[in-house]
């Protein structure tokens, strides 16, 4: 049975123990799923407008309801009462299909996130792979949106967006591999479990590098500033959703914020320990010897910790958005392929080194403890320190190498351009002919 179903069933049985068919449970859970997340997202939009306004010394939404709190509802009403214009030239079926695909993809991503103990909607054995797989649907949807509008700008924006999405998906995926390596499983639930034992993964040099790469790649994956080139309004109107209006545009909007939420959850689960407190604190209950707390109490705590982390992550994205200008398209692609991909590939090897130096021994001993029942002795601080020094040096060396290679190739390009002879006027017609 799914984790979520299980947990809710247990909670419910504490309140009203009776037999309920699983189909009815599923429907009930779906109501939860489609009630909570869109609500969260709606208020994320409100929060973004407020935060951006504060950064720019404005007040932000303040008319609809107290503090503008009803603004999302007003926005939704506005979008729904707008006329839905489909251009005559568009391919009607695909034009409708594209936003639906994107929205479905961003909902499905949320299905494997463990929000608390037993609070992952589903706990798949290959959860992370599933997550990556469904999130790659959105590239398809973006392309179809651009193609079906039969508008040059939309098509151009769609192509650009797909090129960007696929380029940044590579470092995003590669930077999850250290986490899998540390966990030995693809299930997001066991990733959180492993972080309960060994502390957050971000607190290790390869983990930290992976976290940084992942965050940057995630911002690009959800098309936010400084990587919002697909919808660069100064160049290509609004990119792939130029020809979308009314609620169809609203679906794109909803999907975008939903995926912002989803990647924040993913980053939190993979590197920031999900709903766990930092390392010494998460064992507090155990050390105080208060025994097992009821699941409901643990979950309230975990979900609130999780929410705080996700809010922090989302706030980081808002901050980046109001601070940085949009990148140039060639630099953006270079950044993905020439900086992030080499960094994350090198990081995989460094993660293996960290695993060998620090994690292998405790994992083996813990497995033995489970069999023999002896007392588990945590490894000495020296092992961790040695690992920190070695892998930290490796990470810095990798970073400098990548930087240097890029700088070097850049410098040689500049030299080549500045030292190449300027064509004489007599060559100009030939050059022109060549250009034609």
């Amino acid at each position: 049975m799914t984790d979520w179903a299980c947990a809710t069933l247990l909670f419910a049985q504490e309140i009203a123990p009776r037999e309920i068919p699983w189909l009815a449970w599923f429907l009930w859970l779906l109501i939860g799923f489609f009630g909570i997340f869109p609500g969260v997202v709606a208020y994320m939009v409100w929060a973004e407008r407020k935060v951006a306004a504060r950064f720019q010394d404005r007040i932000g939404p303040n008319r609809v309801g107290p503090l503008g709190l009803l603004q999302p509802i007003a926005d939704a009403l506005k979008l729904i009462t707008k006329e839905d214009i489909v251009p005559d030239a568009a391919d009607p079926i695909v034009h409708l299909l594209a936003p639906v695909i994107i929205l479905v993809s961003s909902f499905l991503v949320l299905a494997v996130i463990p929000f608390g103990v037993g609070l992952a909607p589903v706990n798949l054995p290959s959860g992370l792979l599933y997550l990556i797989a469904v999130s790659s649907f959105s590239a398809l949807g973006v392309f179809l949106a651009g193609w079906s509008s039969r508008n040059k700008y939309a098509l151009l924006g769609g192509m650009r967006a797909v090129a960007q999405l696929v380029s940044y998906e590579v470092p995003q995926v590669l930077s999850t591999i250290p986490v899998i390596l540390f966990t030995g499983s693809l299930s997001l639930v066991s990733m959180v479990d492993r972080q309960y034992e060994f502390g957050w993964f971000v607190f290790s040099p390869p983990g930290f590098l992976a976290f940084v790469v992942m965050t940057i790649a995630s911002i690009a994956e959800v098309n936010r500033t400084p990587f919002d080139l697909p919808e660069a309004e100064s160049e290509i109107i609004a990119g792939y959703h130029t020809e979308y209006s009314g609620m169809r545009f609203g679906l794109f909007f909803l999907a975008e914020y939903l995926s912002v939420f989803a990647v924040s959850c993913l980053g939190t689960v993979l590197f920031l320990g999900g709903g766990l407190l930092p390392f010494p604190l998460n064992r507090l209950a155990e050390w105080m010897g208060t025994g097992d707390w009821p699941a409901i109490v643990v979950n309230i705590g975990m979900v609130s910790v999780f929410s705080i982390k996700v809010l922090g992550y989302v706030f980081l994205m808002f901050w980046v958005r109001v601070t940085l200008p949009r990148m140039r398209v060639d630099r953006m692609m270079n950044f993905a392929w020439k900086y992030l991909v080499p960094l994350s590939i090198g990081n995989i090897v460094i993660a293996a080194v960290w695993f060998e130096m620090v994690l292998r021994d405790p994992i083996k001993r813990m497995a033995q403890v489970e069999i023999t029942g002896d007392e588990y002795i945590p490894p000495g601080i020296g092992v961790g320190l040695k690992g920190w020094i070695v892998t930290g040096a490796l990470v810095i060396a990798l970073f400098l190498t990548v930087l240097r290679v890029n700088r070097g190739s850049h410098a040689s390009k500049i030299k080549e351009i500045t030292e190449s002879p300027i064509p004489l006027p007599s060559e100009a017609p030939a050059l022109f002919a060549r250009a034609r």
Partner: protein, 224 residues
């Protein structure tokens, strides 16, 4: 219950395959193909190979479909309507051929005779659960419950050579495809370049910027 689910999804899958094959618009065909890939992933789930299902979605829908769509956009038949399509007669002949192939395969499936220890295919209903493999370590149940781990173990032990060769193949494919694609860099057809009086060697390496759509201003590319 599970049987009707299977029949439903199979029907959708066959419809999608037919759509891929028959639709004149290439992008529509690619969309049908995506649906077909998805149905294959569903079949993998029904066969309890969920790792492969995720791989299927990741590689085929996430990557191969995108590559195919880009390929369509890079060739001129973008409106999708094929310039030439087979006549009805050829279609009928090849359709009959396809049906004949199916008939042969179906007969083979139905008439497969088993041996005492290995039953005939048409008789097999249940799935074996717990026999161990060569080393006696990995049982089928292990594989089903954690296929990623099994695949990793197998890949690092029995399938090391194919694994490295696959890496080599990928690199070769990458290098080859990049080389081929870069050769097309000059946007003009080769004939035209030759006629203009210079060979490929002194043609500009990155191709002429004209006729290449990047800035919207240059969008209406001169048609050759």
């Amino acid at each position: 219950m599970i049987q009707s689910i299977f029949l439903l999804f199979s029907a959708i899958g066959l419809m999608a395959a037919l759509g891929t094959v028959l639709s004149r618009n290439l992008v529509r065909a690619a969309l049908w193909l995506v649906a077909f890939f998805f149905i294959i992933a569903v079949q993998f789930v029904l066969l309890e190979a969920e790792f492969l299902a995720a791989i299927q979605v990741l590689v085929y829908i996430g990557a191969v479909a995108i590559l195919l769509l880009f390929g369509i956009m890079l060739t001129r038949n973008i409106q999708g309507d094929e310039t030439t399509s087979a006549s009805l007669n050829t279609k009928l002949i090849f359709g009959a051929l396809g049906l004949a192939l199916f008939a042969v395969l179906a007969t083979a499936i139905v008439s497969h005779k088993g041996t005492p220890e290995r039953p005939a295919w048409s008789k097999i209903q249940g799935r074996p659960d717990d026999e161990a493999g060569r080393d006696g370590v990995l049982t089928r149940k292990d594989t089903i419950n954690n296929m990623a781990k099994t695949v990793g173990d197998e890949m690092m032990t029995r399938f090391v050579i194919p694994f490295e060769i696959a890496g080599l193949l990928l690199t070769v494919a990458l290098v080859g495809a990049v080389a081929l694609a870069r050769q097309v860099g000059a946007d003009e057809p080769i004939d035209r370049v030759r006629k203009a009086g210079f060979t490929r060697d002194d043609a500009p390496a990155n191709g002429s910027p004209e006729g290449v759509a990047e800035a919207p201003g240059a969008v209406a590319s001169p048609s050759h």
